[in-house]
Symmetry: D2
């Protein structure tokens, strides 16, 4: 079944759902899912509607023409996607490859809707597997403390992304901080996996911090990257129990599984058009 | 904020959401939550709409008059509740009182919306606490294998329920099987907690069965009671890990926490008008 | 089955387990559980041994006489308990009573091994239930910002604790910070429940902080109280998922269940002699 | 740090731990972990001891000579492994490759201690990835209902296993039932992943069964294979929540993650010599 998905937010007002679903009904839409959330504190309405394309009389172009006046009158931000879309993704990676291995397999069996345009890394460990999947690899010169190498790396990524039409960047344990310049020029969201239960243990070596503090649970957090390190809107989190028996190495091992799961779930939610960013928070229509 | 809640199901057709939300908009409803689920296999649409009463121009009576024609034209089953409703609940209990203690506290702090009309038990262990909360207690003669005592017990419960206007029965570890007569005459749903992860370990002594089988996780299941024992529609489930170290007594102890949680959650979901039964399954709008 | 439990820690050395189990064997002990943990980083050995009293030829007094020389030669800290011990507990509470209700029920059905010597509160909301269980109640004048009232409250608690032989204090959502004076004079450990996944959201109103940050999971933490607020050794933690739908009130509601579970588990682990504090961490032999 | 690991079970008797740790101490062992479990119902003692090899004066051969008389006198079953052992594993696979992909990566980064001797499959989908890792591949003719093809397949696997010294077989979603002949001739344990929370939904298409029954949680189970299908001793289980929104395809997708996690954990526990089979249950020293 092919579907269209509308994701929108607007100032809370009476009749938002009625007007939008009424509009869709006019053109023959058969709704499959409707999710609505009114944030009363923020006085904002969020809406995700998914309907069958069969029997629906508008294509993307004519939808825009017909819907824009209504959306504008409600002050609505909106975007439309189709279940058949296969957005291009650019993945950045460093030495550890577990998240990358996991993502590549999920894309390869079409569990994740989209295609990997390239993988860029500042270590070559993962290159043979990327080659195995027939995906272009970009060597990045980035290393800690070298601003020029960082600038060169980011330019290479931006150029390739522009060339291939990348709509999402995924940092699959990429251990370099992206510059503000990259974030402002990339024009595509960036999803990162942080290996702690944010806001606990921000910054470096969070599993070591967790061991030091003697916590009984560790976590991982997938979030959109903003200029404030480790402060971007959180898409998903998960946790795992640890005990006094777990050394830092054990925590790192358990954490790898968390990171893979949390990152791939966040990528899936984003690509299935289920996440709305609103200020520093997310609405996730699961 | 006072709200009204519409819960409905109808054969899947174009325009269900548009028509219902359009109807509500006509009378000034400001939607707070809208949940819609189309079961494509069953060709059925399920809908939960919640809106502010302030500014809404229909009361329960006039809502019925205005909405019934629309609902009928769509073949819709529906019910309307108000967030201010305080439905009456009848609780049945046997010897173990942990679920009862838990429910009584939750009602006492208004975490659960409603009031306990009575507690009926075939053991008196819990009576002092029920007295403490000022709730009527009914002694039940029911005991295993005594059909006459069962009939007397059920009649006593039905009479008291009818007298107090009970809208929901909760079996808080009530260890007697209710008769088909009770279920057909009660005219209110019955929620039970079964101390296993159904459909595993149906029937008696499920924790012993779990220990015997050597499972590493045990569960609890809240479900609506039907004439098929342990086969009614499942509202919620949860699990807890066990290990070779856990004796049957340990499993029973861990199970108590599960049972309390799972039962009270199911009661809350039901009372906040979030559960639709459809054949042998449930739609739970959380 | 009656058992004795030895809990010990000592500098790591060869033969610790052999020497202690050899000693016990000499006097006829039949081991039920043996747990040993060597922290290689800290070069410390932790040991928990539990054995049947039947056939064991030493009582507490003669055990001490016979074991002390061995323990001293290994630089060992140790303590001995019997499964039949029923330690006295003092509970402190403020307005919210869910943790208290939960603890009282668990003690009443002997799920927790021990007896509640008294409940002390700076609000009287919980008094009727405490009366119901026949447990002494102490009114505390403590309120925020009144040092004299705090001093009076703490003295009242210490006096009653000394009089009744309290071996553990439990802060069941007691919202006043205990003074260093109390902690140094109490001579019994104090377990607190903090309503966040420490070290995230230390300090006041952690659920509000969690909502503000937009996290997808919230937690609760049981820890021993030290003079460093929210920094004491963690005994246990647990978490629950939240979503954009959850208001602060919803998070508070979900948090209550977490707090009850996490606190009662920590109290049970402590009372069953399963927790060793070592610097700012705990070894928990589950 | 190199260690030796002793895993043993024997009839419960006084002094088991003392005698074994005393023996090890005699030869200079420094214990790192000691786990002991007495199953009082079964009157059996289970023991796992791990000690540093540095300073220990026995090698495998002389350990056997010195320890056997003691073990025999206690009626003890025992086995000794070294942390440096790298046992050979044979993996069987059918069409779905997610468990295989996961295992191969874990072995490749040495998260799992051992080496993959070969992968045998009755579909060729996974062959290119197996080639990428440089691991031998065996084509199996096995297909449903063809006894001769099954016999040929099993013989091919047994022959290769014997040739390479395989100590463990892993069924990574291998969809053919192994014959009794294979199990009796293989002389190495076989670990299988079943895609349900056993004992619920035995047999075929468990995710479909789960959807039909309307459960709110699905699971996966790793177990040793015996001649009784889906009845072997359970090593580990895990679960994931589902809702009315999840189609069978969604459940299958969520299940894949479960299966990977549960299977790889069971393989790790087995390979780190942490699992004892006892009748139809397992003792898992985590």
């Amino acid at each position: 079944m092919k579907t269209a998905i509308l994701l929108s937010s607007c100032p809370d007002a009476k009749g938002v759902v009625a007007r939008v679903t009424g509009f869709l009904h006019t053109y023959g839409a058969n709704l499959v899912h409707a999710d609505h959330h009114a944030d009363l504190a923020e006085k904002t309405s969020f809406l995700r509607l998914e309907w069958e394309l069969e029997g629906f009389s508008l294509d993307a172009e004519s939808f825009k023409a017909a819907f824009s006046p209504i959306a504008t009158s409600m002050g609505m931000d909106w975007s439309l996607r189709f279940s058949s879309d296969r957005p291009k993704i650019g993945i950045l990676v460093s030495k550890q490859d577990h998240c990358l291995v996991d993502l590549l397999h999920r894309f390869s069996i079409s569990e994740l809707p989209g295609g990997v345009a390239f993988v860029a890394g500042n270590h070559r460990d993962a290159k043979p597997l990327v080659d195995h999947y027939g995906i272009p690899w970009i060597d990045l010169p980035a290393k800690a403390g070298d601003d020029q190498a960082k600038a060169l790396s980011e330019s290479a990524v931006l150029e390739k992304a522009s060339e291939t039409g990348v709509e999402l960047f995924v940092l699959a344990r990429y251990m370099q901080v992206l510059s503000g310049r990259f974030l402002s020029q990339s024009r595509a969201p960036v999803i990162n996996i942080h290996h702690s239960f944010l806001p606990a243990f921000k910054g470096g070596r969070p599993y070591h911090q967790a061991w030091e503090r003697g916590v009984k649970i560790v976590g991982a957090t997938a979030h959109y990257v903003t200029e404030d390190l480790d402060e971007g809107p959180i898409i998903g989190q998960d946790v795992v129990r640890i005990s006094h028996r777990d050394t830092v190495d054990d925590i790192v091992r358990k954490g790898r599984d968390l990171e893979k799961m949390v990152l791939s779930r966040a990528v899936r939610l984003h690509l299935s058009h289920r996440v709305i960013r609103h200020r520093n928070r997310t609405i996730v229509f699961e």
